[in-house]
Symmetry: C2
Subunit: 223 residues, 2 copies
Amino acid sequence: MNTARASSSAATPPAKGARGAGTKGVPRARREEQILAAAMDEFGRHGHASASMAAIAGRVGVTKPMLYTYFGSKDGLYLACLEHVAPRLVTAIEEAMGRSRGRLTAGEKPAAETPHRVLSAVFGVLEEQRGAWFVLYDRTLKPGTDLHAAAHRHRRTIDDLAASGTADLLRGHGNEDPLDADALKHVWTGTVGALVGWWTSHPDQSAQDMAARCARLLTAIRG
Amino acid sequence: MNTARASSSAATPPAKGARGAGTKGVPRARREEQILAAAMDEFGRHGHASASMAAIAGRVGVTKPMLYTYFGSKDGLYLACLEHVAPRLVTAIEEAMGRSRGRLTAGEKPAAETPHRVLSAVFGVLEEQRGAWFVLYDRTLKPGTDLHAAAHRHRRTIDDLAASGTADLLRGHGNEDPLDADALKHVWTGTVGALVGWWTSHPDQSAQDMAARCARLLTAIRG
DNA sequence: CAGAGGTAAATTACCGGAAGGTCATACGTT
DNA sequence: AACGTATGACCTTCCGGTAATTTACCTCTG
């Protein structure tokens, strides 16, 4: 460890007694992680527009220009958040759904435990970043902006997985209406969001707790 | 119609060629309705913080000071929105759930069609104000603010109704866990929000269309 | 091994624009 | 004349974004 001196303990916001300028450095890679984590939470809590760069910087214990030298702009930081969380969710969900198989063929019925497996996977990914879900699914992004398009692009793979699931479910009941499938997809992603939102306001709950809870809820709903 | 001259057709944003000052008056009550409608939509779409007073005013075809003379402040306008939509939703939902009966007694099982009836009621109320739901359920309100408290207060009756429904459902399956009931309540309100959100992006769908769709989806889920 | 210079990490101080909010004033009707 | 409807212009604050500068470490020379 060459940069030994940990003068700024990296999480203390003002580091008040600390040095004026240029206390010298936390290496870039580590700072970027810290900033991403803080940004994820702020963006997730308040939405893109309401989140403030200064607040994100302050939470890391750093000043605004740092964010700009590392991420270029507010949108750049938001985009970095998207690129960080989306692939992890995609991977986890694909694995939970058994990505080898494509859409179900005629007689095949969708596995009843798939929703629960997907939820467990999502909780696992979001355990330390519960706000991240709402970065991907930020209802307040203005349509027509680059960010809106980017968020949709990153959502897309996840939405497609959800769509295949809901389409299979509906087909199993003889319902081929594409609008129904789209609406149910929306309901599903909304449900995941609702669960993550509830989780956010119950910080003591672990991912396993949530998974177990969802198992109980699913049986009650289907019962 | 005494105010005949429709120089500002109420929906044209700038009314560019229009008159200088005092083009004459739409009576206060009617203006307040227009403003409330516009505010509901803007707040619902963008969230409280991101919505702009100027945009709301522009949509009505009026300038900012009008909003302030009629509603005092941005928060005042938001509050007026809450007070406008919350009671209507409460009334409709109470009726749909059969407000006469309290919680279910031991042997009684919750009516299977209740969710569908509630959804139909909600769609009916929101038909012309689809964004209104997200005024009540704005995730981006900062905790600790007056608005956050007010929104929760207005939500409360609705949430309590939802809670009684979910608690009954879970009790019917031998589940008495209060956290489970709370989480399921959250999931239910989240689901309603997801459906309203989908509806918002499919303006051609009527409330009846939505109700019918939900009936199909419910059978598929429970099947 | 000292110092010169390069470079990465970080800050202070500032700019321009957008948005909440206010004031004095202008119309039209009664 | 008086009142209700409405506006243009302005103030202040907050926030995204930038420029100039400072501090600390590393390395390359003599």
